[in-house]
């Protein structure tokens, strides 16, 4: 709802606005949806002027239909697919992370979500030489582990690993307002440097979204909604792929299965959801094997499952004999 202001369109003067406001027409929606004959009588304004203003307002504020072929062309030219560095994860995501979309990773504590995030940041930065923004809200970002992964991938090239580290920007945001300002900053920066090639930001990794939203759930605040909207907008308009982590919280009391936190309303936000689980039954069995299964995807059949090994210097497919190297 946009408030009517002088100068919003030619023909909308300050006096007109005052008179309209006196008759409780304050926003564009009120104006456009009201009966103009009625309004012109009550406010003693010219009917023609009101109709002209309405036409301009509708042209300014309504959405334009686009045809499917144009959309497809635009999508083909603007979308990039970023491989995650792990072939089995790429297979799950239909060859990688798509820009303009959000992918979500969920899992129980200790299932390896931060490891997967670090590995994606490492491979995008090293392999594709793109900039990555890592929003850390849990304090789990460990630069030495990231360096270890980069060293393993870069095959002993010191400068490659350290220049890859420089391309990864880490912002520590521990509360929802800080996260919203960080996202706003990304949007502003990207809109300003629309065509420049220095520092192209293509991936935003958020670890984790639920850490900032959880303290608000059940309360009366609407920051969760703003965050949802902010993330989607950023992904779509800035051509950035967003990889976010949510946490699994509750056990469904009827089935005893783990289900994602943040509830059903959040499930509409990401386009792809991946569930990460440990292969061992409980914490007594220590293992580095994890299974990733697809819970929601626009392109692949759900229920697809692949195996990952987070113990090595990289997130990879498990080799038949688990090596004891690494950490």
């Amino acid at each position: 709802m946009v408030v009517l202001r002088a100068g919003l369109c030619p023909g909308l003067t300050e006096e007109m606005i005052q008179v309209l406001r006196a008759n409780s027409v304050r926003t564009v929606v009120d104006f456009v949806s009201s009966d103009l004959e009625d309004v012109s009588q009550k406010c003693s304004l010219s009917y023609k002027a009101l109709v002209a203003v309405r036409r301009v307002l509708l042209a300014q504020f309504s959405a334009f239909p686009a045809n499917g072929a144009d959309l497809y062309e635009e999508l083909k030219s603007s979308t990039a697919i970023l491989p995650t560095g792990s072939p089995s994860l790429d297979q799950l995501l239909d060859s990688g992370l798509y820009t303009g979309e959000m992918t979500e990773l969920m899992g129980a504590p200790g299932s390896g979500k931060t490891q997967v995030c670090l590995s994606i940041a490492a491979s995008v930065s090293l392999g594709l030489k793109q900039h990555v923004l890592f929003l850390d809200s849990t304090g789990g970002f460990t630069a030495s582990r990231l360096y270890q992964m980069l060293q393993a991938q870069a095959e002993d090239e010191e400068e490659q690993a350290s220049s890859a580290l420089q391309r990864i920007q880490v912002a520590r945001v521990f509360d929802v307002y800080e996260m919203l300002s960080a996202l706003q900053e990304v949007r502003d920066r990207l809109s300003q440097q629309a065509v420049s090639c220095t520092g192209p930001l293509k991936t935003v990794v958020i670890d984790s979204v639920s850490a900032v939203i959880h303290p608000l759930l059940g309360g009366r605040q609407s920051e969760g909604e703003t965050l949802r909207w902010g993330l989607r907008l950023m992904a779509k308009c800035c051509g950035v792929s967003v990889w976010q982590v949510t946490n699994q919280v509750t056990r469904d009391s009827s089935t005893g299965l783990l289900k994602p936190a943040l509830g059903r309303s959040w499930s509409f936000v990401p386009s792809t959801r991946v569930l990460l689980e440990s292969k061992g039954a409980a914490w007594e069995e220590a293992t580095t094997r994890r299974s990733a299964s697809l819970a929601k995807s626009p392109r692949q059949p759900t229920g697809m499952q692949v195996e990952l090994d987070i113990g090595n210097s990289d997130v990879q497919e498990p080799s038949p004999a688990t090596p004891t190297e690494g950490l």
């Binding site: 129980a108 490891q115 789990g140 970002f141 800080e178 502003d188 809109s191 609407s222 902010g230």
Partner: protein, 397 residues
């Protein structure tokens, strides 16, 4: 709970502005297009702004305080405060976009790596545990220790409160400790034993190495100084605990040498007498975020202890950490202490940089220690004869 609005500024003494037509501030950058929903204002105020049709921060600033108070029916002082918050947020945004330092904690991964490599660890005096943790308890992270009653969680906390004070020349971080006790299990005489053993250990090292800075550090590292640098708080219920944690940043800015915050028994106040489980989850998550902010801003380690509870499954029941699944995400590093017949074991269950593993440990009168291997029977000395020594047996007379 912590209100999203910063503390109200002192009474605004500058002359009030004339109204919407007053001089407009010109800002560069898109920070002005920030949606009203994303600004840290109270929910009631935000609801009124939405109902009145305000969408972006720019519109709010253009309207000015008089216009705003008239439009949405709040007092002029409230309107001024709200606009101050908005202006602060947007100027912060503009500074950040322009590449200024800003207040967000933002840096490249390379800088973080250098910071991490320069950071110390808090050792536990049990070398096996230090190894699986990657050097010891890490600063700027939350470590959670879970275990059944009597397995040694409070002992480890007391040991860490002493170990954080070890001077840097002996390999410590030379910091102070805050101990928040909710269960009443802190025993001062036990801390005296642990501290005495620690001082003795350092004295032995100093004697072996005979360096000047070791001698100087030993002068200040004594039993009295150790005990005087442990700040002890006793919280009897969850409200006192929450209040203490939210007031901790002020305490820590006065005592800037604190490097360890221990909360012994985070489960206890939240587990009994809590009917509303969703409120409990919300409070715990808010607490976790506050602790992460403390750990990060003051470069200190936060250590929490948690109880265990039984999860009854279909065919068997397992012991799992208490406070539910969502609490499992709060801690960065999770250690589970358990028994195996009569041996105490520690398992590293969750860590961002170390592998899962299990080690044995023991608790001695001196504190938390490694398990000593059984005395190796004296093997025969080198059987090879030293050629310069010849057997004298026959020649001795």
């Amino acid at each position: 709970m912590r209100s999203p609005l910063p503390p109200p500024p002192p009474r605004f003494r500058a002359p009030l502005r004339a109204g919407p037509s007053a001089a407009r501030w010109r800002w560069g950058g898109g920070g002005m297009q920030r949606a009203v929903g994303s600004l840290p204002l109270g929910p009631a105020l935000r609801a009124r702004l939405a109902a009145a049709g305000f969408q972006t921060a720019q519109e709010l600033l253009d309207t000015g305080p008089c216009g705003l108070s008239r439009e949405i029916g709040i007092s002029k002082e409230e309107a001024l405060e709200a606009l101050q918050v908005v202006r602060q947020e947007c100027s912060g945004d503009a500074a950040r976009t322009a590449g200024g330092a800003g207040t967000t904690r933002k840096c490249t991964a390379l800088e973080l790596l250098e910071e991490e490599q320069a950071q110390g660890f808090i050792i536990t005096f049990c070398s096996a545990l230090d190894n699986i943790l990657g050097g010891g308890v890490q600063l700027t992270k939350i470590t959670e220790v879970c275990g059944a009653p009597g397995v040694g969680k409070t002992q480890l906390c007391m040991q860490l409160a002493v170990d954080v004070q070890i001077p840097e020349c002996f390999g410590g971080v030379c910091g102070e400790a805050v101990f928040i006790d909710t269960e009443g299990s802190f025993m001062v005489d036990r801390v005296v034993d642990i501290a005495a053993a620690c001082v003795q250990h350092c004295r032995l090292i100093a004697e072996a190495h005979q360096e000047e800075d070791h001698q100087k550090a030993l002068e200040t590292f004594s039993l009295e100084s150790i005990l005087s640098h442990i700040y002890y708080f006793r919280c009897r219920d969850y409200i006192e605990l929450l209040a203490q944690v939210y007031l901790l940043p002020d305490f820590l800015s006065e005592h800037s040498k604190v490097r360890l915050v221990v909360i012994d028994g985070i489960a206890f106040p939240f587990r009994h007498d809590f009917e509303d489980l969703s409120l409990r989850t919300r409070l715990l998550n808010g607490l976790a975020q506050q602790l992460i902010i403390i750990a990060n801003d003051h470069k200190s380690a936060v250590v929490l202890t948690n109880q265990m509870t039984t999860r009854i499954g279909q065919s068997q029941s397992t012991l799992v950490p208490a406070l539910g699944e969502s609490w499992g995400h709060a801690a960065t590093v999770r250690l589970i202490f358990h028994w195996d017949k009569s041996q105490r074991l520690a398992t590293l269950y969750k860590s961002p940089s170390q592998k899962e593993s299990t080690i044995p440990y023991t608790i001695t009168p001196h504190g938390f220690r490694d398990v000593q291997p059984p005395a190796v029977t004296q093997n025969t000395e080198s059987t090879e004869m030293n050629p310069r020594k010849r057997p004298r047996r026959e020649e001795e007379k």
